[in-house]
């Protein structure tokens, strides 16, 4: 009898542990659902009082205007896209070159040093990049371009490029290294030089992975807050590269603390957050799909 009881309590204990572990795992689900629900409920109730078209396409963001509060988010979307595009235009070519170098050209010793260094660089906190952009980079850009605006979209774009580079480099490098060796060996056996192999065989094969890297970098850049908050000048208007701009993320950061819990401005910020999240989600999702396609092929 004793043995059977012991066994039953042992099984009980096992089941309990399994259930506890399951509960922990379910925390993630609960949390995500909570975040989505909160965003949608608080943000959705804004659309009872303002129209979606006005929200998405309106060109004036003046939520605290005494006369005519307006909640047009187009300038903010423009700001986010402008700054992110500048960042990608700068970081993708540079990142790709660095990735090719690390994957195919660098000596093993160089590789051993470069990879951890790049990983460390991605760990630098964003507020530090922001401080750098505010104090040093803005001056360099102002001297280089002679613009009268010290804080502008270019400043934000460049610092964002620097922040996104490690992501692009390491993911692109992973994609290139993931190409099966046989492809490379076949090309070389047929007499191709290193560069020809890279250009005609490796890069095309790794293209999905590289594209995924770009999309992920884009998603990260869109979601970045502190650096652009300190670097772009925070004017909610549609202007040129050398003029100040404001991103969706900065708007949320600046205005959240001021709002009335439950008021229209509060709800609109949540709606803005939904818009922001849809964009980052789209890019992350695309990157994921492309990455899966890569995994299904190559190996």
């Amino acid at each position: 009898m004793r043995g059977k009881e012991k066994k039953r309590s042992a099984i009980w204990k096992e089941t309990l542990i399994e259930k506890a572990l399951l509960a922990s795992a379910l925390v993630s689900v609960v949390v995500v659902v909570l975040i989505f629900a909160f965003l949608i409920s608080q943000g959705g109730s804004a659309f009872g009082r303002i129209s979606i078209i006005d929200f998405l396409l309106g060109t004036k963001w003046e939520p605290t205007s005494v006369i005519a509060p307006s909640f047009g988010t187009l300038p903010l979307l423009y700001g986010t896209m402008l700054v992110t595009s500048i960042a990608m235009v700068v970081s993708v070519p540079l990142g790709l070159m660095a990735a090719i170098y690390i994957a195919e050209v660098a000596y093993p010793l160089e590789k051993e040093i470069l990879k951890p260094v790049i990983e460390l660089l991605s760990a630098v906190p964003s507020v530090i990049y922001g401080l750098f952009a505010l104090v040093v980079l803005a001056t360099w850009i102002q001297q280089l371009t002679g613009t009268s605006y010290r804080l502008n979209a270019l400043n934000g774009g460049v610092i964002l490029a620097i922040m996104v580079l490690p992501t692009v480099v390491s993911l692109a490098e992973d994609a290139i290294t993931a190409v099966p060796r046989e492809y490379k060996e076949a090309a070389i056996a047929l007499g191709a030089s290193n560069w020809e192999t890279i250009r005609s065989v490796l890069l095309p094969s790794a293209s999905s992975g590289i594209l995924a890297a770009v999309f992920l970098g884009f998603g990260r850049a869109v979601g970045e807050t502190m650096a652009v908050l300190m670097a772009t000048g925070n004017v909610a208007a549609i202007g040129s590269i050398l003029e100040p701009t404001r991103t969706m993320t900065s708007t949320i950061a600046i205005e959240t603390l001021e709002v009335d819990f439950g008021g229209l401005h509060y709800n609109t910020l949540f709606a803005l957050a939904i818009e922001l999240f849809v964009i980052t989600f789209a890019f992350n999702y695309l990157a994921d799909i492309i990455g899966k396609r890569l995994r299904r092929m190559g190996r």
Partner: protein, 299 residues
């Protein structure tokens, strides 16, 4: 135990031990706190105006040096932040560089909060430009036309031909609200770089030959190299610089009162703190920071 376990244990030990050791050492080495019999203790939270932020910090630093058992937390964000926090009961004191609005009074009362106003000082809004700017004075009307976008070139107000680069506060700021109400007559700002603090504005104008900004006069003291413009109420009036005399005497056209708000008449620690602020010690600290005392004591 083997090498690996030892290494892991060492790392965990360091990760816990270093912060704990640091905290303990710092407490032990900290200068002795006041040994006087002090029964004032408690927590005070202060939120609100960025214009008052540095004075609020000085008040907190000074008061808690005298009463070490009182903990005071100070945050900025803008007068709007303070009023919302007061209403939501997430702050004890609201710093404000503008008067409370009727809507805010109603909302507070609806939430069971009774805002009580205390005038704690006077502030001039200084209009600053780069030291090399040819312009020395402006009328109120010119100032209005600059900030509502009508004038876009310095030569329209007597300066050299150059685009006017405007700097200002973000919408949560009482300074922003005051300026919009009293200088722009409730019309909206056009094309202004919205910066998150008085300090940023002063800093930007200092580095921008074509910049103009409005800041609390305290932010033009020590260390910032800008030119303060004389302001004339009308084209034929005398231009005044924001000085203690002109602000107190009412001749400087853009001067305003500074306030703190509490929920009801405070008692206990909070009451002592408010008494400190409006009393001679608090007012001296206010004046040291470049503001003007409102309290007519012996001056």
């Amino acid at each position: 135990m083997d090498m690996k376990t030892f290494a892991v244990a060492l790392i965990i030990g360091l990760l816990i031990g270093i912060p704990v050791g640091y905290a303990v050492t710092s407490y032990l080495l900290a200068p002795p706190t006041s040994t006087s019999q002090d029964d004032l203790s408690g927590n005070i939270v202060v939120k609100g105006s960025d214009t008052l932020l540095i004075v609020a910090q000085r008040w907190a630093e000074n008061f808690s040096d005298q009463h070490p058992n009182v903990r005071i937390d100070v945050a900025g964000g803008g007068s709007g932040v303070g009023f919302t926090a007061l209403k939501d009961k997430t702050t004890d004191i609201c710093d404000a560089s503008r008067e409370i609005k009727d809507t805010e009074i109603t909302a507070s009362k609806a939430n069971g909060v009774n805002p009580v106003e205390w005038v704690v000082g006077l502030d001039g809004i200084a209009i600053i430009v780069h030291p090399n700017n040819a312009v020395n004075e402006l009328t109120l009307e010119q100032l209005e036309l600059i900030y509502n976008g009508t004038y876009t070139n310095w030569n329209q107000v007597g300066g050299n031909s150059a685009t006017i680069v405007k700097y200002g506060r973000q919408s949560t700021s009482g300074t922003y609200a005051y300026f919009r109400e009293h200088v722009l007559h409730n019309r909206d700002f056009v094309g202004v770089n919205e910066l998150a603090g008085n300090a940023e504005i002063a800093n930007s104008v200092q580095n921008d030959a074509n910049g103009i900004g409005y800041v609390g006069v305290a932010y033009t003291q020590t260390g910032v190299n800008v030119k303060i413009l004389g302001i004339k109420a009308s084209a034929s009036a005398t231009a005044y610089l924001p000085t203690v005399a002109s602000i107190k005497g009412g001749t400087y056209p853009i001067a305003r009162k500074l306030y703190i708000y509490t929920n009801g008449i405070p008692s206990g620690v909070l009451g002592a703190y408010v008494a400190f602020i409006v009393g001679p010690q608090g007012q001296k600290l206010l004046e040291d920071e470049g503001y003007v005392s409102y309290v007519k004591t012996d001056k």
